[in-house]
């Protein structure tokens, strides 16, 4: 009898695992078809020389990867993406946090501000790019600057600052980064605001009773409570900024020399410009590796922060 119980409990356990597996199976199949298989297929393609159309693919081993290792333009594009990311991490998130703090208080028309701050992220990147290209336009008509920024600079008595913003290597990438921040700060704003609203108000009252001023309340109450949200915002900012490219295409077309190239535009150039799909896949695998490393790094920071 005990043997039978043992057998039936084993059967029950197997049935349980089978049921659980059956529930997970659809998701697993979809994940495998749309993520795992493409990843391995891309990796396989990265080991070939292929023009993207022909049936003929030539196996070249890791040649594409060794070429990528010494491709200065590729690494410049990675640096450019990092520059945009650093700008987004600092400028964009600082602005988002400041505005979230402002809207978390009891101010008039705070719902109106919330809607206004969330407008840029819901606009299409192409539209944002076109609007900003008009703002930064350096052309003139009948002696007047057409671009809003240059026009405003002249009207403000600063004509010496008038510039070809998107055609100068010194300013083009920074302009793109600033527009990217303008477009993206709304996401951070919403998430940070949601995080701020989950902080128990009693903590602020207790801090006030203890005589803490605004700065020390922020430092000792708000910031520690916001760490998990900030980390999520940081990870999303990094991943979103590293992969930005639609804005770049709509602002500077096929780019200003190599000064506005980012990894995704280089992958596109390899595929579309020079029809080297194998090399483009190697770039994709390398870029995925970079993003995975960054994500792991932030995950480790996040875990450590949780322990603290």
């Amino acid at each position: 009898m005990p043997a039978l119980t043992f057998k039936s409990s084993k059967l029950l356990r197997a049935q349980d695992s089978f049921t659980s597996f059956a529930f997970v199976l659809p998701a697993l199949v979809i994940f495998s078809i749309f993520y795992v298989y493409p990843f391995f297929d891309i990796f396989n393609l990265s080991l070939h020389e292929w023009n993207g159309i022909s049936f003929k693919r030539t196996f070249v081993g890791f040649d594409n990867f060794s070429e990528l290792g010494v491709d200065k333009i590729w690494w410049k594009s990675v640096w450019n993406a990092m520059y945009i990311t650093i700008m987004a991490l600092t400028l964009q998130n600082a602005l988002a946090f400041a505005l979230a703090l402002a809207c978390d208080r009891e101010i008039r028309m705070k719902n109106f501000y919330r809607v206004v701050f969330f407008l840029p992220p819901v606009l299409s990147e192409i539209v944002v790019g076109l609007i900003w290209r008009w703002i930064l336009n350096a052309e003139m008509q009948a002696g007047e600057h057409i671009g809003l920024l240059n026009h405003w600079l002249v009207q403000s008595g600063l004509p010496h600052l008038v510039h070809e913003w998107l055609s100068d290597p010194e300013t083009a990438l920074t302009c793109i980064a600033v527009v990217h921040c303008w477009k993206g700060f709304g996401w951070g704003f919403i998430m940070l605001l949601a995080g701020l609203q989950t902080i128990d108000r009693q903590l602020y009252e207790a801090a006030k009773v203890d005589g803490a001023n605004t700065l020390s309340t922020f430092w000792h109450v708000t910031l520690p409570m916001m760490v998990p949200v900030i980390l999520v915002v940081v990870i999303l900012t990094v991943l979103g900024s590293m992969q930005a490219f639609v804005l770049i295409l709509s602002m500077v077309g096929q780019g200003l020399v190599y000064h506005t190239e980012v990894p995704v535009t280089r992958i596109l150039a390899s595929m579309q410009g020079v029809n080297r799909f194998g090399y483009a896949c190697a770039q994709g695998v390398c870029f995925a590796g970079i993003l995975i490393c960054i994500s792991i790094f932030f995950k480790m920071i996040s875990d450590r922060a949780k322990q603290v």
């Binding site: 159309i53 003139m140 055609s167 077309g253 780019g255 200003l256 190599y258």
Partner: protein, 428 residues
């Protein structure tokens, strides 16, 4: 009940995954030309009325996205009956090699070459692979041009007169002087969509052909003449001289062609480098614009100035199409005189059928006069390696923004050329 549901789901999945069955009375056509879609749809309706064959026309703009769609559809083997290949000759060849494009040589030759003779030879050349072509494609014609085009310079008559210039510049020095005179009255010189690199490539190769002649350009592509040759330095110098004379509109290196067209149409720039398709765009933006067409002013009087031109847009027929005969019949009808006259009048593009030329606007007629001086990379015997071409075009951008000298750019392009030649040699 669950089993029945699962069975139905499986059935739907299997049916959904299968090849769609084609209707023998429907021809599918994919294109990218937003400005011509209405005219295409009108012609399709007329064709259905006349023949009972439905032509399902689907628009997938812009051209970049269309190119990607066509490549992806080829990979998935779901191309329509009729489509266009907006890419290099090498890509066109790959499509043919993979059986995605039907050979139309016999259709063009039928009835004593009636169809072939009706169309501009230069336009057909874009779709033609000659004997001994470097792509090893069977000689023949693989597509039909639906219009022709060429890319020239345009000048605004009113703005030139305002700057004290009574006629279009004939020489390069006159052009630079005109640009400086225009600057003095606050008008920009040349505008063009060089944010799309192929437009800058077009301008540069015009001058390469003029300065050193076609044979030397081809010899460079074959690797027999270095880019550091004085003639190539002279080509790069064209851009330096123009930049030094402030002959370019601000921001030209990152300007898309649509913006450039707007800049010329709204009289912010006095010169434009644009194709005959721009006539329609200018008319839409400023119907009163008073402008003329001119060849880019030559530097070397001993060589002719060749401009890019030939087939504007071409359609090919899917080699695996079940409706190939219907598709060919539609293309023949589409490129016949009456339909071409309709297209030219509605879309202000140059017709591919020579018999339709009599009824086109004056500016288009001026464009058409230069058709004999047209050339195009797709009909050249050799094409430059795409990586070398990219370095060359990015180098031209560097010269325009004053970042590099012509000599520096020539050295960089030659270095990439040598690297790619060494790689090709190693592969052999």
């Amino acid at each position: 009940m669950k089993n029945v549901l699962a069975l139905v789901l499986c059935l739907f999945t299997c049916i959904g995954c299968g090849q769609p069955k084609q209707d023998a009375n429907t021809v599918t056509l994919w294109h990218w030309m937003t400005d011509r879609n209405d005219a295409f749809q009108a012609l399709a309706a007329k064709y259905e009325e006349e023949t009972g064959i439905k032509v399902q026309i689907d628009l997938y703009p812009p051209s970049d996205a269309y190119t990607q769609r066509i490549i992806a559809s080829a990979q998935a083997r779901v191309l329509p009956d009729i489509y266009g290949i907006l890419d290099k000759k090498q890509v066109f060849a790959s499509f043919i090699e993979s059986g995605f494009v039907a050979d139309l040589t016999e259709d063009f030759a039928a009835n004593d070459g009636e169809w072939e003779k009706a169309l501009f030879a230069k336009a057909l050349d874009v779709n033609r692979f000659k004997e001994g072509n470097i792509y090893n494609i069977k000689p023949g014609i693989y597509g039909a041009p639906i219009d022709v085009t060429n890319i020239q310079m345009l000048y605004n008559k009113k703005l030139l007169a305002k700057a004290g210039i009574d006629k279009a510049p004939q020489t390069f020095d006159e052009f630079l002087a005109a640009a400086q005179a225009l600057n003095r009255i606050g008008v920009a010189g040349l505008v063009s969509g060089w944010g799309e690199l192929w437009m800058a490539d077009c301008f540069a190769s015009n001058y390469a052909f003029n300065i050193m002649g076609e044979e030397k350009v081809m010899a460079t592509f074959r690797g027999e003449v270095p880019y550091t040759d004085p003639d190539w330095i002279a080509v790069f110098n064209v851009f330096k001289r123009m930049a030094d004379a402030k002959a370019f509109a601000p921001g030209i290196v990152t300007k898309p062609n649509k913006d450039a067209e707007q800049s010329f149409a709204l009289e912010r720039s006095a010169f434009s480098f644009n194709g005959s398709w721009g006539v329609n765009a200018y008319h839409g933006m400023n119907p009163d614009l008073d402008y003329g067409v001119m060849m880019p002013p030559a530097i070397n009087p001993d060589n002719p100035m060749y401009i890019w031109g030939g087939a504007g847009s071409s359609f090919v027929i899917n080699g695996a199409s079940q409706n190939k005969d219907q598709a060919v019949a539609f293309l023949k009808w589409f490129t016949a005189r009456d339909q071409q006259v309709f297209l030219a009048q509605e879309t202000k593009n140059l017709p591919s059928n020579r018999k339709a030329l009599s009824k086109i606007p004056e500016v288009l007629s001026d464009y058409a006069k230069a058709m004999d001086n047209t050339t195009h990379p797709t009909i050249w015997k050799y094409n430059e390696h795409p990586l070398v071409a990219e370095t060359y075009l990015k180098g031209i951008q560097s010269i325009i923004i004053g970042e590099k000298t012509p000599e520096q750019v020539a050295g960089e392009v030659q270095a990439v050329k040598e690297r790619e030649m060494a790689k090709a040699e190693k592969r052999k």
